[in-house]
């Protein structure tokens, strides 16, 4: 069955880049430009198998989004990967504590991204 991935990033270039990479690999892709819109989608019935989110975004950043998603019923175990230019250990630790599944530093090559996704989504 086709897996669905939600991409959250305020950069249209990033969204398009990852979206196309994942669609070519056979995934169904949903997108949102900030945390608030992502949450709205999740509350509206979108049930992704994986969420990939940026950290620094307007309105609602990635950290707050992770915290909010974990508080939503049915999303406690949904894998969440951060995809950001931030690389500091403190930020990673903060993300981990909030419930992130992994930390990816931009830019990520297409093959690397698919490899990581297969690790967090076995059978994808």
């Amino acid at each position: 069955m086709t897996k669905t991935i939600l991409i959250v990033d305020d950069s249209a270039t990033m969204v398009m880049s990852i979206k196309n990479n994942l669609e070519i690999a056979g995934f169904k892709v949903e997108t949102a430009e900030d945390g608030i819109k992502a949450l709205s989608k999740l509350k509206g019935g979108v049930k992704p198998d994986l969420i990939i989110t940026d950290i620094n975004m307007p309105n609602m950043g990635g950290m707050e989004l992770i915290k909010s998603v974990r508080a939503l019923p049915g999303f406690r175990f949904t894998p969440i990967l951060t995809l950001t230019t931030e690389s500091q250990a403190e930020k990673r630790e903060e993300g981990k504590k909030l419930g992130a599944t992994g930390w990816l530093v931009k830019p990520v090559g297409g093959a690397d991204l698919l490899k990581i996704i297969k690790q967090v989504l076995p059978g994808a």
């Binding site: 950069s11 270039t13 990033m14 196309n20 992130a100 599944t101 530093v105 931009k106 830019p107």
Partner: protein, 419 residues
């Protein structure tokens, strides 16, 4: 060293005042040239003013126009010098430093203003660069996606063609088998015919031989009948008149015997001819030629099948190679899409530079204000600027990205980390 602004530029003041006075004289003369006749005719003569009085009034009026006009013209150009004079008058010699400081503040403000305008122009250009790279990156993504779609369409087409070819392959394979069976039958047919003909020939020859045996019997019977008829004729002659009828019968029997002998000879000749014709006919039969043609036909069919197998193999190889290339292409497209993410990395770097520049400019804008205020403290501005620098550096350190393929490191930590 004394700052240039601590001295009053007297030559400048003099030239500005002189220029203003000349302009005022010109304006006053113009007014006098136009206004004096009118004043003379309409005011002074009717009022009975004497010539001396008229000159005095005219001079007075000229002075009243000239002095304010000179000041008015000089004001915009000599404001700074007049401020200095005012400061000197108001506060004495000590105010020269205050004035100099104010002047320095004004120059610094001008400098900062120009600097900000330059920054604004650079910032605008950077925004254009970001927009251009963003637009280019999006176009690139769309083109790359189209490339992938075309490649997928090609593979799908080849896949469908492969399916069709597979069906055709089965049909051709069935046809080839049928053709081979037919060709084998055709190849074997002459031997079968040859065998059948040989059997028939042997049987016919045997039958003919048998018939020839019958001919011999007939001929023997004919001879015996002839002898019998001869003996009967002899015995009939002995019998005289009594045997006359019997003589006739004996004669007829003899004639019959002769005709039987002739018929037997004809049959024998005919059978011998038939036997000969049968033997000769097989010798000149086109069976060997047909066998050779059937063999060539089978070889051609086999050649055709081999050619078809080669084509099929070539096609399969082609399909495998194209599919492999398409897989590689999809992988390379993924890498290109990954590289496009640099646009976002660069954009964020520019945003951070812009943020640091805005903070720096706020400090620079504070500088002329404080320079113009003798009571203001300048000492904290360098510290504030240093803070901006340190925070900018720390922020960059925090965001330090690694290039794709740079041993998977980002700022000393793994680029990808699963918790």
């Amino acid at each position: 060293m004394e700052h240039p602004e601590h001295r009053l530029p007297r030559s400048d003041l003099f030239s500005k005042l002189l220029g203003s006075a000349l302009a005022a004289i010109f304006a006053t003369s113009l007014v006098g040239w136009i206004g004096a006749p009118w004043l003379h005719s309409n005011v002074l003569i009717p009022a009975g003013v004497s010539y001396a009085g008229e000159i005095a009034i005219t001079v007075l009026l000229s002075m009243l126009i000239f002095a304010p006009l000179t000041m008015l013209l000089a004001w915009p150009f000599t404001r700074r010098e007049l401020n200095w004079l005012r400061a000197v008058i108001a506060e004495g010699d000590g105010s020269r430093d205050a004035y100099a400081q104010q002047a320095a503040g004004e120059h610094a403000a001008l400098l900062v203003e120009n600097h900000l305008r330059l920054d604004e122009a650079i910032g605008d250009q950077l925004k254009v660069v970001v927009q251009d790279t963003d637009s280019s990156a999006m176009s690139l993504i769309l083109q790359v996606r189209k490339l992938n779609d075309d490649a997928v369409a090609l593979v799908n087409y080849l896949g469908n063609a492969d399916l069709s070819a597979h069906n055709i392959d089965k049909e051709i394979e069935g046809s080839v088998i049928a053709i081979i069976q037919i060709s084998q039958f055709v190849q074997e047919l002459p031997d079968m015919i040859r065998g059948d003909v040989g059997t028939i020939q042997a049987a016919a020859i045997k039958e003919i031989d048998g018939l020839l045996g019958f001919i011999n019997v007939i001929q023997e019977i004919s001879k015996q009948t002839n002898l019998l008829a001869l003996n009967a004729a002899i015995e009939a002659a002995r019998a005289g008149d009594a045997g006359r009828g019997f003589t006739v019968v004996a004669d007829e029997v003899r004639k019959l015997s002769e005709r039987s002998a002739k018929a037997a000879a004809l049959i024998e000749k005919g059978l011998a001819g038939a036997q000969n014709t049968m033997r000769e006919g097989l010798k000149h039969s086109p069976i060997d030629k047909q066998i050779a043609e059937a063999g060539a036909l089978v070889n051609s069919i086999r050649q055709l099948q081999e050619n078809y197998d080669d084509i099929r193999q070539y096609y399969k190889t082609l399909f495998i190679v194209v599919t492999k290339h398409n897989t590689d292409l999809a992988s390379e497209i993924g890498e290109i899409l990954g590289l496009i993410q640099y646009q976002d990395v660069v954009r964020q770097r520019i945003d951070r530079v812009a943020s640091a520049v805005a903070r720096r400019n706020a400090i620079l804008q504070e500088l002329p204000r404080r320079l113009g205020d003798p009571q203001a403290d300048l000492t904290e501005l360098p510290a504030q600027m240093l803070e901006v620098l340190n925070e900018y550096r720390a922020n960059e350190e925090r965001h330090a990205p690694a290039a794709i393929g740079s041993a998977g490191q980002a700022g000393g930590l793994p680029k990808f980390e699963l918790f």
